[in-house]
């Protein structure tokens, strides 16, 4: 009833090809963005910003990057955390080594460095694919883990091995309160999401999808696999690099290589698979699920334990968290292997007909 496109006639190619062709979608997106910028800061307390919203935004950005590569170009990667690390450490080095470097520029340059590294470690994708490629991308994960731990130059010879940056100053706006951080990350995420949306329905995105669906067939219709695969690696790593720089600069402030370990890569892959491969909204759903679930479990398990009259130790809570997290993931994969985005799409189809049966 509310979500029907009957009677909406498109009279120009422009109207037919816009990003959100249905006005309800368009207005809903605008409303959500406006609410996120204006409504949320009024409603939410600091803890929410720090523990949930800022990590959620940054990891969504990273999940977008992974989704571009895995969901749209079909190249499974387990090296996403490494790309984030390259972005973070490159941005750090730009900040430290060049006087008066604007933080935003450093973050973007970090992203570019990550893109360059991504291209190099994407080269195996030209020869191998599928699970072999997944394992091959682990090479980049372990290589960069090692490099940032052992090569002192990257950490500016810091003795503890951890690096830290001052608050970001953006054209005179110092980002230090949780609300500022939230707004900054939200701004970056909105810009990058719009970019991704447009990239994916353009020439490049179509090439990626052709490669994903059947790379031999794509070659036959004149798509260069090398160009398509490497651009996918580059763009995806750029997103991941920017996300990594934000994670270091905004969320953590000071960090060690362990912040971008293999667990991070797996977590990002979880996000896109649970959220939905090949759907931008999937990155948002997946990131929300993966960020909120552990916090939720952490908060509720001791409560449940005390209700049952059990003495729940911290170690037990973390183990039970593991168990529930793992079984929920298996459960989700069994129930909806195409992710939450598919659930949402099905719901939307239902909504179009509602309240009529046909």
């Amino acid at each position: 009833m509310f979500y029907r496109e009957n009677g909406q006639f498109k009279t120009s190619y422009k109207a037919d090809q816009q990003a959100f062709a249905i006005p309800q979608d368009r207005w809903a997106i605008v409303a959500i963005v406006v609410f996120a910028f204006i409504g949320v800061p009024l409603l939410v307390d600091e803890y929410m910003f720090r523990a949930i919203l800022v990590p959620f935004l940054i990891l969504t950005l990273a999940a977008l990057g992974v989704n571009i590569l895995v969901g749209y170009c079909g190249q499974i990667t387990l090296g996403a955390g490494a790309s984030m690390a390259v972005g973070a450490y490159a941005a750090y080095n730009f900040m430290v080594r060049i006087d008066g470097m604007p933080a935003l520029a450093a973050i973007l340059l970090g992203g570019l460095m990550a893109a360059a590294a991504g291209i190099v470690f994407g080269i195996p994708s030209l020869r191998v694919r599928g699970l072999y490629l997944a394992v091959a991308t682990l090479a980049s994960q372990f290589f960069w883990d090692w490099a940032f731990l052992r090569i002192k130059w990257f950490t500016n010879n810091s003795s503890s091995g951890s690096v830290s940056v001052a608050d970001i100053n953006l054209f005179g706006w110092t980002i230090n309160s949780p609300t500022d951080k939230y707004l900054f990350c939200l701004g970056v995420l909105v810009v990058f999401s719009v970019m991704a949306k447009n990239l994916l329905r353009g020439n490049m995105g179509r090439q990626w999808m052709a490669i994903r669906d059947m790379d031999v067939a794509a070659t036959v219709i004149g798509i260069r696999p090398m160009y398509a695969k490497l651009t996918a690696f580059a763009v995806s790593s750029f997103y991941l690099g920017v996300a990594g720089a934000l994670w270091g600069f905004v969320n953590l402030g000071s960090w060690e290589p362990a912040a971008f370990s293999i667990d991070r890569s797996l977590q990002l892959l979880f996000m896109v698979i649970i959220g939905g491969l090949g759907a931008i909204s999937g990155s948002f759903f997946g990131a929300a699920f993966i960020v909120i679930l552990p916090i939720f479990l952490n908060q509720t398990l001791p409560l449940v334990g005390s209700l049952l009259g059990l003495d729940v130790s911290i170690a037990l809570v973390s183990h039970v968290e593991f168990i529930i997290f793992g079984s929920l993931i298996v459960f989700f994969l069994i129930v909806e292997p195409h992710g939450i985005a598919r659930l949402w799409a099905t719901g939307r189809e239902k909504l179009r007909l509602w309240p009529f049966p046909h």
């Binding site: 072999y132 372990f142 090692w146 052992r150 793992g326 993931i329």
Partner: protein, 309 residues
Amino acid sequence: MAFFLETLLGGLMSGMLYSLVALGFVLIFKASGVFNFAQGAMVLFAALAMARFSEWIPGWLGMDNLFLANVLAFAVAVVVMFVVAWLIERLALRYLVNQEGATLLMATLGIAYVLDGVGQTIFGSDIYKIDVGMPKEPVMMLESVFEGGILINKEDFIAALIAALLVISLSIFFQKTATGRALRAVADDHQAAQSIGIPLDRIWVIVWCVAGITALVAGIIWGSKLGVQFSLSTIALRALPVVILGGLTSVPGAIIGGLIIGVGEKLSEVYLGPYVGGGIEIWFAYMLALVFLLFRPQGLFGEKIIDRV
């Protein structure tokens, strides 16, 4: 020269252990097309079960015989791994038939989380030791050939022997028994195997069970060397280059790949490591595997990849 040989032998021995873990991957991938990321968690789980039962059983039965306790603990651990295999098939895998590789990979990651959690809840999360009476003292060999001879760790040597024995018995099991034939048939073609009456679900339980037992043996060997602790589950990551080097579908590939990776790791760490700051063995194995992959994308012994549109 003696030093080189020593390094080489050390590499071969640790390579044998990698093969053991890699074998678990290959068995499951061949039979069910699942890339089992939970193999590491299974190693940890099995080792924890072994370590704790060998501690508990003497208390329960009131006996004081180390050998008997270990045998009993091993038997119980085998049963535990069988139950785990059965549960995994029953609760997860059977619903995930015909899903994409990436989805299955993620599902096994979920299983790995569950196994880690359950294992540590039941068996505790401290560092435990497994004492199966492995000799610890090193021996000198070939003293007549080289001056000073070469030093070999007896423990490593026995571990490599056990691993080799297990590999041989597994190959006999696969080649000579009816179940082994059924397993190979399933690996070849699920539908064809099903159509001649091979029960898929039972085969999967058997495969996971066999993988569980290799995990148990690997867990015991590594556990008695390093102690049973959470980091044991990361040895699966060390064995991954072995799998892609040897080919995901090849048992001999897993063995030879393991040896190559083991030797490559040790030699690189000893001869290359000092120039770049050490600790390179973790990624060097991957790089080695990558270079191989560039020339043979299907791995050393994998089936040739043929693309059709």
